[in-house]
Amino acid sequence: MSQVMTLERPIPDAAPAPLLSLRNVEVVYDDVILVLRGLSLDVPAGSITALLGANGAGKSTTLKAISGLLRSEDGEVTRGEIVFDGARIDGIEPDRIVRRGIFQVMEGRRIVADMTPMENLRLGAFSRRDREIGQDLERVLTYFPRLKERTGAAGYLSGGEQQMLAIGRALMARPRLILMDEPSMGLSPLLVKEVFAIIRQINRDLGVTILLVEQNARAALSVADRGYIMEQGKVVLDGTVEELRTNEDVKEFYLGGAGDQRKSFRNLKSFKRRKRWI
């Protein structure tokens, strides 16, 4: 069944195969709660792809489906497939997914609070067996020099520092794809800017592909190449950043303050009609 549906999706001609692609992915929590209802998206290699949407749209669930962390929350990919670098990864243990090169920076940073920043960074390299870990540690510290001075428990770092630590820890794994869940959460506007500048920088300098989940659509679109907009477990819009930025609906519902007159939620209907169901 899912095979047939895969074929229905038009494949853009001459485009290289994306690093990551989700095809009609359906996720069910606790055997009954359907959260993703046939989600499809592509993350081209080397890109920053933004995944936007309101609370409860299923953005974090999407990331956890990719990283395999879903199962520790009683969730399960029940249909569809997730393909990374030409191989299916749905149903694989999370530690193996990390070994394949996907690293998730979880929502709320989730650094190990009772360890020092250094220990946190070294943990990032857990899946590696090569001898260049020390070298990478130095490099990460050049990105985040502030972390070097912090020798106490990482739990006492400021929110911004914790976010930097979480990103640095991800870099220590030398991933090919970083899944970032709400890096702007709980940060001041200035820090959000700083964090997104770093995201852009690691994407450019290290060639790491990034799938970025954000509530802060404006910040996300400022660094992304492509974007998807999710609603109720499905992608409802996608396109390049320019296309999304100039789209009236996106402006109105995600960037805020578009159009001349205030629109009421009754007009949501028109938005729904224009959506393209993928």
């Binding site: 990283s67 962390l69 520790s72 990390v98 690293f103 220990e119 943990l123 794994a173």
Partner: protein, 297 residues
């Protein structure tokens, strides 16, 4: 007041306490890594001691070789126990897991009685001199060895958790399993490793006590004795476990002194640790070093 006796008892207390500390450490290791309160910890001592005794008496192995083979056995035993019995219980209510470990405790005690009999068996003599005198204090050679091993184990634990990759992984797993998974750590492997290390470390204590008192099912009482030490130190603190062990060891021996010299009630030292346990639970339920989460406000 008999100062010499008191001093002797305090030194004994520290040595036995270090041993309690080692067992408490291995108990905390399992609790920290996999949130299982292991009521079968004492049986690890028992099994380790019996296996070592069996190797030494049946195959006439030299002590060190016998001990190393025992370690290898306990390593495999710990992993097997985790994989076969406890892994299927992941996600089940805590009380179910506790009941299972109590069941394991009973099962292994009976198994050891069935295999090795109900009588205490002495270890073949290991040291040519039974006791040495240091600063006028009589100290059994095996206790000196025990102290050396205990300190080495503690140093090993400290190194393991601070510097080794798998030690860090274990701490991360103790902090949050999902976070550990997101870092590429296999939580299952961490659990198995925790049980394996715990079994090996406990068996050291079992062998030492076995050499001193003979091997019998009384060894498994250490698993219970360790509770006051662990609770005193805080259920999830390795350092606390060591200090708790030392305190309980000394308290026990001081209680024996007080009892022997003044009170003459008999066997006070057996129950003092548990009085301590009750008092600590009343006034400091997290123990001396038990952690509450860091809350940054």
């Amino acid at each position: 007041m008999n100062t010499h006796l008191l001093l002797q008892l305090v030194v004994n207390g520290l040595i036995v306490g270090a041993l309690y500390g080692v067992v408490a450490m291995s108990f905390v290791l399992i609790y920290k890594a996999s949130q299982v309160v292991n009521f079968a910890q004492g049986e690890f001592l028992l099994i380790g001691a019996w296996v070592c005794w069996w190797l030494l008496t049946t195959y006439q192995l030299p002590f060190l070789v016998g001990m190393l083979v025992t370690f290898a056995f306990m390593l495999v035993f710990g992993i097997a126990l985790q994989v076969v019995v406890l892994r299927p219980l992941i996600g089940e209510p805590i009380i179910s897991v506790i009941m299972v470990t109590i069941g394991l405790s009973i099962f292994f005690q009976a198994l050891c009685k069935w295999l090795f009999g109900v009588f205490a068996q002495p270890f073949p003599p290991i040291f040519s001199t039974q006791a040495v005198s240091i600063l006028g204090l009589e100290i059994q050679t095996v206790y000196l060895m025990s102290l050396g091993i205990s300190v080495a184990m503690m140093a090993g634990f400290a190194w393991f958790f601070r510097y080794s990759k798998h030690g860090l992984a274990m701490r991360a797993t103790a902090f949050n399993q999902q976070v550990a998974q997101s870092l590429g750590i296999s939580v299952r492997n961490v659990f198995a490793l925790a049980w394996a290390i715990s079994a090996v470390v406990s068996s050291v204590a079992g062998i030492v006590v076995g050499i001193v008192n003979g091997v019998s099912s009384a060894l498994s009482l250490y698993g219970i004795k360790v509770f006051p030490a662990v609770i005193l130190g805080g259920l999830d603190s390795v350092v606390g476990a060591v200090i708790g062990g030392l305190v309980i060891g000394v308290l026990e021996n001081v209680a024996q002194y007080v009892d022997g010299q003044y009170l003459h009630w008999g066997n006070l030292y057996e129950i003092v640790p548990f009085y301590v346990l009750v008092v600590i639970l009343m006034i400091k339920p997290y123990g001396l070093f038990g952690t509450r989460d860091i809350e940054r406000v």
